[in-house]
């Protein structure tokens, strides 16, 4: 990679050990992807739940966080993805004090870097939405695909170490979705049946993602006649990124970048969406846990959950968990939505997103197997943790939570 004077000085350690580590890490990654140079970024977003970090990751952060203040402070606004544990609900969820202690150490380290603990994967809805052409170092696949596609911003998937490095150096290697050439569509899809709710938007994203199947593919989606809205695109993109590792889509008439693709269009209609949902179907099964998360809920989704639960009680053998961001939780508290949801026996957690919260240990502690959700992304992830997931609409999830079985 071509380095400027400042970057060479960072690599030589003239700005301290944290920035030396950071730029060395970034050069390794940049060289691997044949990046020509660095590009300045305006925000970084760090995924760093303690289940992923483990003791080794937290110790790594603490080592850098112990450096002198001038050497350890991030240079651009740096925010966080959901963490592994909400201190207000972890005991009710069956998480342990050891998990909470590790979480507290990670948070202390991030604060020492000057990181803003936003604990959210919906920062594009709640913190500071990107603008077109803005170069970013975003650390959650759902955030990256939404920022790239809906706003026309430019980010690769930046895992926790790389997003922290970008915060410390204020830049990232220029490869992948920072470059015009990588942003052109490679696959074309024609949607012939409009999804009817968020679970179906996720299913559609999952189908496109599976077909693409690689970080280096870019789908162009045609046939969507009505702009879907932010929550629909959130579930659509998050599922596509999860099922296919896709980081950018174009949607004719909706997304801002001009996109043309000569490839033959693959049709996706009602039959394909129904088949996707049917592959997870388990009607009549006892349901252990119903999860609204992945991505965290917007204020509008919180209101929909409250509305669906009003005057009803979650079955004694079923847990209903709602995960949102700290900002939305405060708003939901203020507007009475949290109280309405929790009056049913459901739990509202802030700053977590379920699958990043020791999902395997939660299953063991609570005896959970059958999980019901309206998030296709969660349906895709959670199988590896030993759950049997089913995907259904918000209304059907709530009806099932009340019945204690999948209706």
């Amino acid at each position: 990679m071509q380095l400027n004077d400042e970057e060479r000085a960072m690599l030589a350690g003239e700005y301290g050990e944290a920035r030396r580590w950071a730029i060395e890490h970034q050069i390794q990654v940049g060289d691997f992807f044949d990046a020509a140079d660095f590009v300045p970024v305006s925000q970084a977003h760090i995924m760093a739940d303690t289940e992923s970090l483990g003791e080794a990751g937290v110790a790594f952060l603490e080592r850098l966080a112990a450096l002198p203040e001038s050497e350890r402070r991030v240079r651009v606004p740096t925010i966080t993805d959901p963490r592994g544990l909400d201190f207000a609900v972890y005991k009710r969820l069956g998480q342990t004090d050891a998990m909470a202690a590790l979480e507290a150490r990670a948070i202390a380290a991030f604060r020492a870097f000057g990181v803003l603990m936003t604990d959210t994967c919906i920062n594009y809805q709640t913190i500071l939405p990107p603008v077109r052409g803005e170069h970013l170092a975003m650390g959650d696949t759902g955030v990256v695909i939404y920022s790239n596609s809906v706003f026309g911003a430019r980010s690769n998937f930046e895992g926790g170490p790389s997003a922290l490095a970008a915060g410390l150096t204020g830049r990232t290697p220029r490869y992948g979705y920072h470059l015009d050439a990588a942003r052109r569509p490679t696959h074309r899809f024609r949607v012939t049946a409009a999804p009817r709710d968020l679970s179906e938007w996720g299913a559609l994203g999952g189908i496109v993602g599976r077909e693409c199947g690689s970080y280096w593919t870019v789908p162009l989606v045609e046939g969507i006649e009505t702009p879907p809205g932010s929550d629909a695109l959130k579930h659509f993109g998050a599922a596509m990124a999860s099922y296919g590792s896709v980081a950018l889509f174009h949607m004719s008439g909706v997304t801002p970048e001009p996109a043309e693709c000569a490839a033959a269009a693959a049709a996706i209609g009602r039959a394909e969406i129904d088949a996707f949902l049917a592959s997870y179907e388990a009607k009549g099964d006892k349901v252990d846990v119903v999860v609204f998360a992945a991505p965290q809920l917007s204020l509008i989704e919180m209101a929909e959950v409250a509305e669906a639960l009003d005057g009803r009680h979650v079955h004694a053998d079923t847990t209903l968990l709602v995960a949102t961001s700290p900002e939305i939780k405060s708003a939901a508290d203020r507007m009475g939505l949290t109280a309405r949801i929790e009056a049913s026996g459901a739990m509202v957690a802030a700053g977590i997103c379920f699958y990043q919260s020791y999902a395997g240990e939660l299953a063991a502690a609570n005896g959970w197997t059958r999980l019901l959700t309206n998030s296709a992304k969660l349906t895709n992830i959670i199988g590896g943790y030993g759950y049997k997931p089913t995907l259904a609409s918000l209304a059907r999830c709530v009806d099932s939570a009340v019945a204690g079985r999948i209706v």
Binding site: E51, S52, G57, F60, G159, S162, S242, I381, G384
Partner: protein
């Protein structure tokens, strides 16, 4: 002369070990029981098999960002693959290998999951951008 496969220069030290091969993809979060060191996702082609100290040969990186931390955490407990050899990785696997100091290469001239078989002994040299099949498994 043993077969020498060319790839893009990679990350981490040169290593020699026994291959575990599948035409499937890879994510530490989605696919693994990281405590046991096995593939845990029921639909994965390697479900139930141990990856500890094996050279994993797979198709693509998939899914989320957690693998960037998880490879480091797995390596710290010595329950980790010896190397990752894929047709094409995403940024997360590259970032994870860089943090963990784990050997990783990708971008071969043809499908690497056809070129290497489970049980083969291979030497991965990231600096040279080569994978040498040192010994074919005849079992």
């Amino acid at each position: 002369m043993p077969p020498l496969l060319k790839c893009h220069p990679g990350i981490g030290p040169a290593v020699t070990g026994v291959a575990l091969v599948a035409k499937d993809n890879f994510s530490a979060r989605y696919d693994l029981d990281r405590k046991a060191g096995t593939f845990s996702r029921p639909s994965h082609a390697l479900a139930g098999q141990s990856y500890k100290d094996r050279i994993l040969v797979l198709d693509q990186a998939k899914g989320g960002v957690a693998t960037a931390w998880m490879l480091h955490e797995m390596a710290a407990r010595n329950v980790a693959p010896l190397a990752l050899v894929l047709n094409r990785v995403n940024p997360i696997l590259a970032q994870g290998a860089a943090l963990a100091g784990m050997t990783m290469v990708d971008r071969f001239e043809s499908d690497v999951t056809d070129l290497i078989r489970t049980g083969d002994t291979v030497r991965v040299d990231p600096a040279a951008g080569t994978v040498e099949i040192v010994k074919r498994d005849n079992g």
